[in-house]
Point group: C3
Chain length 141, copies 3
């Protein structure tokens, strides 16, 4: 890309429905769809969930067992049975969301996400099923 390209900031909101109480739902296709619409070639693509009991994971989307292992491990280390104070009873979901994070920043190169061969983008639902919003925010050219 020319260093003199005009950089723009564009934003798009996606609606994603999770299907279970806890789920890693592959949204790579949805993010790519938003990117095609937004039209940037290089820059940073930020994916963000404006929620406190959901997050984003960037990890293997080839073998679904990787996602199952991750959710199983998180459940063991942040058990629902733990005596938390928060009256809504979903403190484990808040903690898991913070552990994986609410924002995934991804490099753009030649109009595409510069993801590795095995990487996918997952909405990490920890208190579903729910309708969630996923923000795709691009600063690029």
């Amino acid at each position: 890309m020319s260093p003199f390209a005009i950089i723009s900031a564009v934003i798009e909101r996606l609606k994603v429905a999770s299907d279970a109480a806890e789920q890693l739902k592959d949204i790579t296709g949805e993010v790519n769809g938003a990117l095609r619409k937004l039209g940037a070639s290089g820059g940073i693509c930020q994916v963000f969930v404006p929620h406190t009991t959901a997050g984003l994971v960037v990890n293997e989307n080839a073998d679904p067992d990787v996602c199952i292992d991750m959710l199983t491990w998180l459940e063991e280390v942040v058990p629902q049975s733990h005596p938390f104070r928060h009256a809504e009873g979903n403190s484990p979901a808040h903690i898991k969301a913070t552990l994986v994070g609410q924002s995934a920043t991804l490099p753009l190169d030649g109009g595409r996400l510069a993801l590795g061969t095995w990487q996918g983008i997952f909405l990490a639902e920890f208190d579903g099923p729910r309708q969630r919003t996923v923000i795709v925010n691009v600063v690029g050219a």
Copy 2:
């Protein structure tokens, strides 16, 4: 925003005093204040702590019990009593800072942080009380 707007990069350093050995201190107001001064409409707002025993959490700022539960859980899983090697004795603080992260990236939309209804930005102090620096760095238009 017009895709032809001129994008700028602006940076501001905030001083934030933590009040306890461990604390999630809500700094959403301070970040919004820096943003008003920096003046961007769209783009990415990055909040960054240049420290190794503090981090940033984006999570619920309605019920304070969510923060208490998070700090309690972190203390259980990374106990101070663990026999670590680091001679300063604050390895748990370093580990907790890495688990929550030092950088929070937040989308800007219409001149405001596109946070969810329940989301706030917290300085995560794990080795306080101290005077901390919080960098607000905006690439936007």
Copy 3:
């Protein structure tokens, strides 16, 4: 920096060889070298690993014991002996990579990374030794 500077998006791929099964390898010098080549003064420097069993840690690079303590703690909390489903047997590496994250976003100020005195950037290898790619992606001016 002038708010009217022309912002560019530039990207560079580094090759980094890890030396052990698990390692925090300091790559701050390599990232700074890429930055000098890319030439930005302000903005956001994103470091990204396009892998699913490696990540990035920003933490203390003064006392090597901090890194040892972090790897030791991660091994205890995500033990290799755990009965995971993923047939390749490296689910702990996937989980650890997600816990530390694949993307580190760093502020640029005056042509330099605005890191704290004690902060360094580490490639977090959890399934090595391997040849890894580290992407340095800058949106700045």
